[in-house]
């Protein structure tokens, strides 16, 4: 039978380390006394789990923390920006998966048969994705400069992981360019109607094929290396996102740069919101059969994109509040 001390220690695990460091001992004493008085209490367990998860959301930069356990507003901004970086990377991956399918569908669609609503949705999504990529360049350049200027050994690990993951993704996506069914490989017949230059859509499709793959092809039409790429690319993408979040949180960034990055993050969330709007239109009008047909996987991608965007929006709100506090 477990003792009250053991049960209190187990309940305490709901809270993040920073919170436990400040309140852990006294909170454990309260829990022990409470457990001794009322050995069985579901509301107590639910209350502790709820409060612990809220404290964990604060540590992740998704809510505003209260109390002496997480005191520095500038640090909060940086943590929130790290979470934003992760959430927006997820948004970008999902957006690239959907956009590349649409762009390739357009490439195979004779102009006369293209439907206006789907075309408008594609244009909105393309413009939003282009603006998002521009914002990424504007955000990454000064952070890269700050990292190079104030380099320390804690940044080496995530930098190496990021470099390796991005290299693998770039090499793999380029290697498998045009090798997927529909992107011009596998000897399909028919006439291509190029819309996007330089095979950008094929690169994006190759990069995100792990999401949009028709599993039928895995069993019948793809070789061992192609299947390995489909398994490895999401792992590399997750490693790149994790390394970017760690770098963002560990780098020494000036208050001015934090404010600049927060403003860009607000713009990035707005742009991704526009993309989601275009995507929603496509999913709504693209249910009829055809090349630009929106399937179950696209509906799932739109829902996941909305969730990732909600997390990013919450993180940018927390970052903005942290900035306001840091200034005052």
């Amino acid at each position: 039978m477990t003792t009250p001390q053991e049960r209190a220690a187990r309940l305490l695990r709901w809270y993040p380390e920073a919170w436990r460091h400040r309140y852990g001992e006294e909170f454990a004493e309260l829990l022990i006394a409470d457990i001794e008085e009322r050995p069985v209490s579901s509301p107590r367990a639910v209350d502790v789990a709820r409060a612990g998860l809220l404290a964990r959301l604060a540590v992740a930069g998704l809510t505003e923390p209260h109390g002496a356990w997480w005191p520095d507003p500038a640090r909060r901004v940086q943590v929130s920006l790290g979470t934003l970086c992760g959430a927006l990377t997820a948004c970008l991956a999902l957006a690239a998966a959907m956009w590349s399918q649409l762009a390739i569908a357009w490439e195979w669609t004779p102009p006369a048969t293209a439907t206006a609503p789907t075309m408008r949705a594609t244009l909105v999504m393309s413009a939003a994705l282009l603006a998002f990529l521009l914002l990424i360049v504007l955000a990454v350049a000064p952070v890269g400069y700050a990292i190079a200027r104030n380099f320390n050994t804690r940044l080496l690990g995530p930098l190496l992981v990021l470099a390796a993951a991005v290299s693998l993704l770039a090499f793999g996506a380029h290697h498998f360019l045009y090798q997927w069914p529909g992107s011009g490989g596998h000897g399909e017949g028919g006439t291509l109607f190029p819309v996007i230059p330089a095979g950008l859509q094929a690169f994006a499709w190759s990069l995100t094929y792990w999401f949009s793959v028709h599993w039928f092809w895995l069993a019948t039409g793809l070789g061992g290396w192609e299947a390995a790429w489909i398994a490895a690319s999401p792992v590399a993408l997750a490693a790149a996102a994790t390394a970017a979040v760690t770098l963002m949180r560990r780098a020494e960034l000036s208050p001015r740069l934090l404010a600049y990055e927060t403003r860009l993050a607000v713009a990035a969330c707005a742009v991704m919101g526009v993309f989601l709007g275009g995507c929603g239109c496509w999913v709504y009008v693209g249910r009829s059969p055809g090349l630009a047909h929106a399937g179950q996987i696209d509906i799932a991608a739109a829902v996941l994109l909305a969730l990732a965007l909600a997390a990013a929006y919450q993180a940018q709100r927390t970052a903005l509040r942290g900035l306001h506090l840091a200034r005052s």
Partner: protein, 119 residues
């Protein structure tokens, strides 16, 4: 008939910003007005005078907020239990909040008595 502004409760000293924690904060500050207490003593005292048992997670959320606002302060730990003490800012906030609540109570009771004869 009293003017509208006279009836409106005012709570400018801080507890209004506590949102859903305002209730817990009021109970905690009221308990600490009697002297410093640690977590479990606070829970028992609040249960005794208000008939409400503050759950541990909720209690520490409210304590952390009150501490960050400077309304209470932590004292040195006594055998792993840390007592908390009401500060002057906390006393002022509690006074303002209770004054506002009293105005609401008095207005409600007066109207009940005038129209329903129950108070």
């Amino acid at each position: 008939m009293p003017k509208r502004d006279e009836e409106r409760p005012r709570d400018d000293a801080g507890l209004a910003g506590f949102g859903r924690y305002a209730g817990s904060a009021t109970l905690i500050l009221s308990s600490l007005a009697d002297g410093p207490k640690h977590g479990y003593a606070l829970t028992k005292d609040v249960e005794e005078f208000a008939g409400v048992r503050l759950a541990p997670g909720t209690l520490y959320e409210a304590l952390a907020r009150l501490e960050s606002q400077g309304m209470i302060e932590a004292l040195a730990a006594e055998e792993r239990r840390r007592p908390y003490r009401l500060t002057a800012a906390g006393a002022t906030a509690l006074q303002a909040h209770l004054d506002a609540q009293r105005r609401v109570t008095e207005t409600g009771l007066r109207r009940l008595k005038a129209n329903w004869g129950t108070a």
